[in-house]
């Protein structure tokens, strides 16, 4: 009996030794696609095991700086200060793209009402408080908008979604930039806050006359009504996977060669949805590290074969130009 146990332990330790365990932590937004990727990737590669903790972008950066994980993941790019305090140079590798949808709940109103950037800022600053405001009526002349209060629903917890959304608001409105600014949590002039995308979704679903912002996937899976939002070319664009991808289409190879902490909000292009963003894997540039080598192999797979899993989970794939230049960048790194 004893021998069998010892044999078993030996076998276990043997198999444990052969598997490279890779720890990552960070953003919750890409968690569904990352876990899909890990399981697909491990089907053909049994000797690596990924463990990803979706603790939030800020947490991922902290863990990476404290060297408790092999890679981090974040929606908002790292600040220069954070980059400086890291033990290794850190590369931002975009993996997929996401969008922030402006959702609403108004009984009797059709889906896809039009919303201009000016009116959006007006609502969020508390200057437009009724659904039948002339500015909203002017955008949607055929719709009979009711005399109802607008309830703004925001994120109460610090989040990458808020960071992208307020980045967009700051880019379209000087007023917003000086009075509120952009970041993971801001001091909202009006409205109520829900915790997490699911909290905002719940509040919007429960409150008549509400307007909120959530990640695209939540808008789609919960069948929320979404606004067609005015982009930089004055076109009204719906938040969709294609229109999200379009916002990176205008980037050039020159953009890709340098710092990849690129803001995509209010991008050029007639079909581009204005509130789009990359989500990043934060890759430390280490040499002679087994885990690091495996992460690079995984990234090369994710940027090629992995991309096809993105649309079914409501993420936008990277433009080909970008993924090609990323692959080049990663393969040039020394192991």
């Amino acid at each position: 009996m004893k021998n069998i146990i010892i044999l078993g332990l030996c076998l276990m330790s043997f198999s444990l030794g052969a598997i490279t365990k890779i720890n990552g932590a960070g953003a919750t937004f890409p968690y569904p696609i990352y876990s899909k990727w890990f399981s697909e990737y491990q089907k053909n590669k049994h000797d690596v095991e990924f463990n990803y903790q979706s603790i939030g972008s800020g947490g991922g950066i902290q863990q990476l700086l404290k060297q408790t994980v092999d890679f981090g993941a974040s929606d908002a790019p790292m600040s220069d200060e954070d980059l400086k305090s890291a033990a290794w140079p850190i590369l931002h590798i975009p993996t997929v793209m996401g969008a922030v949808a402006i959702v609403y709940n108004l009984e009797g109103a059709p889906n896809n009402l039009k919303l201009s950037s000016e009116v959006l800022v007006g609502i969020l600053m508390g200057k437009i408080v009724k659904w039948n405001d002339p500015a909203l009526k002017l955008l949607n002349p055929k719709v009979d908008l009711p005399d109802k209060d607008i309830l703004v629903v925001t994120r109460a917890d610090g989040s990458g979604t808020t960071s992208v959304f307020t980045d967009y608001l700051s880019s379209i409105s000087q007023d917003w930039k000086t009075k509120v600014g952009n970041g993971k949590s801001v001091s909202w002039p009006v409205g109520v806050g829900g915790k997490g995308n699911e909290g905002v979704t719940g509040l919007v679903q429960k409150s008549q006359g509400s307007i909120g912002y959530v990640e695209l996937a939540y808008a789609i899976t919960n069948k929320l009504k979404v606004f067609a939002l005015e982009n930089s070319q004055n076109e009204f664009v719906l938040p969709e996977i294609d229109s999200t991808s379009q916002s990176a289409a205008s980037l050039t190879t020159k953009d890709f060669s340098g710092d990849l902490r690129i803001s995509l909000v209010n991008a050029k292009g007639k079909k581009a949805y204005p509130i789009s963003a990359f989500t990043y894997i934060l890759l430390p540039v280490k040499q002679g590290n087994v885990q690091n080598k495996e992460i690079k192999n995984f990234l090369l797979w994710a940027l090629t074969k992995g991309q096809k899993f993105a649309p079914e989970l409501h993420y936008a794939i990277l433009p080909k130009k970008l993924s090609e230049s990323l692959i080049k960048k990663i393969t040039q790194l020394k192991d």
């Binding site: 939030g56 109460a156 917890d157 949590s185 001091s187 409205g191 109520v192 719940g202 429960k206």
Partner: protein, 287 residues
């Protein structure tokens, strides 16, 4: 030995919080307590909206829960038959076992719409002249959080009161009845009066839970950082703002300010407990 360990634990907690909040303490000083602005971008932080939120929700919750809990305890221990009382007691205590997130969900999906559509019109038509009940109601807000807290602390207060009532000797009650007291007078003289300090103890235990309750409150209070007098408006409590913003605090000062709030919450809780102890000591029947 263990007692010393527990004291050490509280002290080390306070030291840890103090260390964490040191940058905020040195920057804002004591003015942090009445600072009204909470803006992570401009790094301006003040805790007044959260302190008021915590005190308001807890106070309103106590206002609702205390009479209810005492009546429930009296009903179970004195009025209804023993067997039925036992069953009711079990149900009341079961409320304490419901996870707070379940209360939060119930709050969003049932309580908030009820407040918006039924309670608010009633409150406005009767007490609408008070600034406490003005402004639009979104359902979720300070009132919703207070109601949820009230329900959550009822089992704590009522089971504590029940235990206190149980210590009253049967002879005293019978003596009161024999002297011609009505049942109501008997309850008033022989049960409620000697149990006063005990009931305060139960209320304080409930208050302790209300002050620190986080999840359910964060889900229904609306999480706004703005100072509002109306209990229909959204607000925030000290615990809910920490839970919401801690994980993604955007900079060191933000983190330190959240630590400062935690320190204040600890101080408020200890002070409330101390005050209650003082009341108990002052009003205990002198034998």
């Amino acid at each position: 030995m263990l007692a010393i360990a527990i004291i050490m634990l509280i002290v080390s907690l306070a030291i840890l919080l103090f260390k964490l909040s040191l940058p905020a303490i040195s920057k804002f000083g004591i003015g942090f307590i009445w600072g009204q602005v909470w803006n992570p971008i401009s790094e301006e932080f003040g805790a007044l909206p959260f302190i008021l939120g915590t005190l308001t929700t807890s106070f309103v919750a106590l206002l609702i829960a205390t009479p209810l809990s005492i009546s429930v305890a009296l009903f179970i221990s004195e009025i209804c038959p023993k067997k039925i009382g036992h069953i009711i007691g079990i149900f009341v205590e079961m409320i304490a076992a419901v996870p707070s997130i379940v209360f939060g969900l119930w709050g969003i999906f049932s309580l908030a719409p009820w407040i918006q559509n039924s309670a608010t019109p009633f409150l406005k038509s009767t007490l609408g002249f008070l600034p406490l009940f003005q402004g639009p109601s979104y359902g979720i807000g300070v009132l919703a959080a207070s109601l949820i807290l009230a329900i959550m602390i009822i089992p704590t207060i009522s089971s504590f009161c029940r235990e206190v009532f149980r210590t009253i000797p049967l002879q005293t009650k019978e003596a009161a009845l024999a002297l011609g007291a009505t049942r109501f007078e008997m309850i008033k003289i022989t049960i409620l009066r000697p149990s006063f300090s005990g009931m305060i103890g139960g209320v304080v235990l409930g208050l302790g839970r209300a002050l620190g309750e986080t999840m359910a409150v964060a889900m229904v209070i609306g999480n706004s950082h703005r100072l509002a007098i109306s209990i229909l408006a959204p607000g925030s409590t000290m615990a809910s703002v920490i839970a919401n913003e801690y994980a993604e605090a955007s900079n060191a000062m933000h983190m330190a300010s959240l630590g400062y709030i935690a320190l204040l919450l600890l101080v408020v809780t200890l002070m409330v407990n101390g005050l209650a102890r003082f009341i108990i000591w002052k009003w205990s029947p002198k034998i």
